[in-house]
Symmetry: D2
Subunit: 336 residues, 4 copies
């Protein structure tokens, strides 16, 4: 089958490669001509302009947009102006699901299909396959099934879920039509929300292990310092070994743990990282959706807030607490 790909960054380029390997053809376009040239050298059909891109695609066209969320609207608009009824635009980035619903509604009068595809797998997807969560109309989803099947990881040697044999569908192959427009990015959004939570859970646990020798450290005894309750916190633990041992047979084994073990294996104190943790929107949207649903989600929210805090020197909230303590108790802040 044929796919058109707009945006040849880390994700888009590797998706094209995975499709080429599987015997599909691809028309590729990127604002950066070098990125196009590179993929052409690997067997893709190059396009120098969006017009050429559209012209080279077989009808009905499947144009996958893989660009930063901030410019998705512009690209979709330009593309829509060039496409014809029954063509399909696929947004494979990290759009907000409400934008998907708005876009799908605006493209419908022209007869265009719009699919929102949340894609997980990161830079490992080329080899590992991409887990895809898809929203949009059934016709377009089914038509593109060969593409999704090739991009997805497939069943591999992962043990089958008991009871799954009765359920059917594509979920076992690593891609899923989740529902109408927006459903794909909604599920991916929550996936990322969970991801934040899992990451923070490992992070906090490892932090507790890293500080398990607190009783060996000098402890000040003044009215501004809480006394140590537990004299048994005397452990100097090896986080590289601990994350490694958990990879086999433990209840908390996971792919994120594999990555953590890899990080500690070569950087045992993680000195290569400052600890400023970015967030790219999905975590925030997850919490906003949860609040609208009146679903309490303390863990996911705490994980998001820890990222916010990680990027600051100090907050106003902290200064307010210090100021109150000075006002009611004459407490002076301790120096760092």
């Amino acid at each position: 089958m044929q796919l058109g790909m707009i945006g040849l960054g880390r994700m888009g380029a590797n998706m094209v490669r995975r499709l080429l390997r599987a015997g599909h053809t691809a028309v590729v376009y990127d604002a950066n001509p070098d990125a196009v040239k590179q993929l052409a050298a690997e067997g893709a059909i190059p396009a120098a302009t969006l017009e050429e891109f559209v012209a080279k695609l077989e009808k009905p066209r499947n144009a996958w947009v893989m660009v930063p969320a901030a410019i998705t609207d512009k690209v979709v608009e330009q593309l829509a102006a060039l496409l014809e009824a029954d063509d399909t635009i696929i947004d494979g980035g990290n759009s907000y699901f409400r934008d998907d619903r708005r876009r799908a509604a605006s493209l419908q009068p022209k007869g265009l299909h719009y699919l929102d595809v949340g894609t997980s797998g990161g830079t490992h997807g080329l080899d590992r396959g991409y887990c895809m969560m898809i929203g949009g109309d059934k016709v377009a989803v089914e038509r593109m099934d060969p593409i999704f099947k090739s991009l997805a990881p497939g069943r591999g040697d992962i043990e089958r879920t008991p009871g799954r044999e009765k359920l059917g569908g594509t979920a076992e192959d690593g891609y899923l039509h989740c529902g109408p427009s927006g459903a794909g990015h909604f599920v991916k959004m929550v996936h990322n929300g969970i991801e934040y939570g899992l990451m923070a859970a490992y992070g906090e646990g490892l932090d507790i292990l890293a500080n398990a020798n607190v009783a060996n450290q000098k402890h000040e005894a003044d009215a501004e310092t809480a006394p140590l309750m537990n004299p048994d916190l005397v452990f100097d633990l090896n986080l590289a070994d601990i994350t490694e041992v958990w990879r086999r047979g433990s209840v908390i084994s996971s792919w994120l743990l594999d990555l953590t073990a890899a990080a500690f294996a070569t950087d045992p104190k993680l000195d290569g990282y400052s600890g400023r943790v970015s967030d790219s929107g999905e975590g925030r949207w997850t919490i906003m959706a949860a609040i609208d649903e009146a679903v309490d989600c303390e863990v996911l929210t705490a994980a998001l807030y820890a990222r916010f805090r990680s990027r600051k020197e100090h907050t106003i909230a902290e200064k307010v607490c210090s100021a109150m303590r000075y006002q009611f108790g004459g407490h002076l802040e301790k120096k760092a």
Copy 2:
């Protein structure tokens, strides 16, 4: 009545002053002779040694210990060796309630009473009076009632709680016999746990107000930065005025708000504070008690953790999250 006071720091000295003003007498001792001299000049009976302190007290003696928690055990032990049956030791510091129960049990064979008195009011207590939460045996508590009454704020001009007229007791006067040994410091411990929560609630709210102009600021548009959803966050707010206006008639008026308004009135950005917030034990013990009781207390815990975090540059947890992001997505940390 007469009270002996050991420890003439900020709290102890002012409590003596408040008693003297009320017509009581006080024998005072402190490791620092200047502190003793100062109080003697104000009418207290000075003691140069612990022995002299005990000798000058009328029987049955009432010896109030107001020293840092870290040395309370030592002082109580030395004092107990000098006292006689039916004398009373009062621990007015911030002891852990389990230490109170241990001490009370160890003093009982000798016939000594032991009272644990949690004292709130901070440096304002001299004028405002001290709110006291008392644990220990009834005999000693009732015997010392005149002292407690004078230290306490009294009813003042605070409006009476509807329904209170049927209940009686001393709570309206600002002091309360809460229960057996440890009960006083337990109630004070939870009081401080609540205090942390209240402080953090004001702090967070003011932080949200302080950042309400985020839409006016330059916002980066890259895959590492969440897009701003809300273009209406354009407010430059005056926190000094806002904390002041809430003092009158609002649902969130409180003494802590009064102090906050005072801080902002002279330091509108709180530039005088770095934001490193100490914790002195009670907040931690509150959470530990809650966990043992299986009581979920997210708010109080979050307030404690925010203090922990405020004293750090970065946590291992944050570095772990950064390391994972690099491993799965090639994400590089953004510079400060």
Copy 3:
């Protein structure tokens, strides 16, 4: 001065009464004619229709809308159609600040002023006065100053904030022009967010006190039950007395504590309440604003989530945890 009031519920009616007492006049309208009749009997000028309401107002008109948030838009629209340039609509309800900005923008072409006034004080405002946070253009705010001054609590006998004498303004009188359109409801929104946090802090602390006798209770010893660590949790505490004693001299004294003491004074176990806690929007909007500002606000969020959870039997999240425990450990759920 004269004010028109639309909506004579608990809040609107009492605001009119407070204005009448202060010597102002008021034109009143409500969908319920009995409410209008009642206020007319107390000295207000009644209006049977919106048209009559507008006709009876002196120019430039000041029309205060005090209706449920869900119908504010409709009322504002109907009113705007009847008003003339330089008239002012005041929304005194709990509107979302973004709706204020939208409304203000839509009314501007017609020359109408729009003020958003967040009002705190609840059912006690008639006597205590209303704390008001005002957004909108300066002309309209200043013109209505006599109304705001009379509705507000005034300085009363509350001690002056040190440093306040140099700052001036109306904050000390209990009302404040916070900024442009939306700023009033934004500040009120965060006020309510803080309110949730304060309430939860007291609630959690009192919960820990209420369960302080856990060591006296029978404790199961099986693999599904965590062992009790702390045998000293033996306290039967009197929450009515404790909330009362904290009212005087303690660091955590506040108006909300006064109300809590009143609740416990007549209902010592709060048996009159089931514990299903509503939320009316402001807490949610506060968190959404915080997330957009990247301000971590764990305490306020936890307070909101506790309300969500309080209204449910069980969550999917809980069932997922039970299901996992069964899958990996064969753990069966314990019966209630």
Copy 4:
């Protein structure tokens, strides 16, 4: 090699079976004679009493205790009275690490070794192998290496961690000597703390997905109900398919996700679970250690608290909030 096993429940019996399969011999004892008989039929050497158990073991003896935490102390004491210098007691249960340190210290004068072994893997360990975290003296750990190696999962076909080839050690085989006495159970304790966090993260995310159709539901419009902000929450999602699709190629794939997918595959609404989630101590101890270390761990704490809350009808904290709302605003609770 030979191992003695005391306690033939779910965990102990399967560990014996795994050792027998690997060619080791085992002496087995349990208070329940049927459990002993069963294992004897599978090739273990039965013991009818603790004395017989000790007598049948080769010297130096290795006695593994796998009993509920509540009776571990008693069994260890009885066993220690029968053993000789250089024998080893292994506690494979879920002891508190401070108890391990106390036990090790008390057994040392007699020349006995004491190992604390945290064991993860649950009921799947027989086939999957047991991940073991070991604390205690090196001599005993090294002597028992063949036993640990056979119980552990081994490297299997799990991809090697990059950089691991330079590090050596046993972590890759699924067992690890973590440090001195207590270190094994400390690491296992934090493992369980992380486990709670991971479970809650999946649980909350799935809850948000399960409620993603909130805009399709009837929504009340009164002052006690927050308005729905987001009309796009119209998704009816299939959680069985979604948990399945995430198993392949997604960032959040894990063993816990595998189990979750299995639960949903046969019970798509989890109707088989009520949602009362037990906790067995390790999560609590993790938080207590974190607090003593001043490590903020919001996520792990929130996960624990959610379990506490899941086992209650309503909390005092909730009733306090309802009572305050009634007091300041006359708000009546909505019915369930």
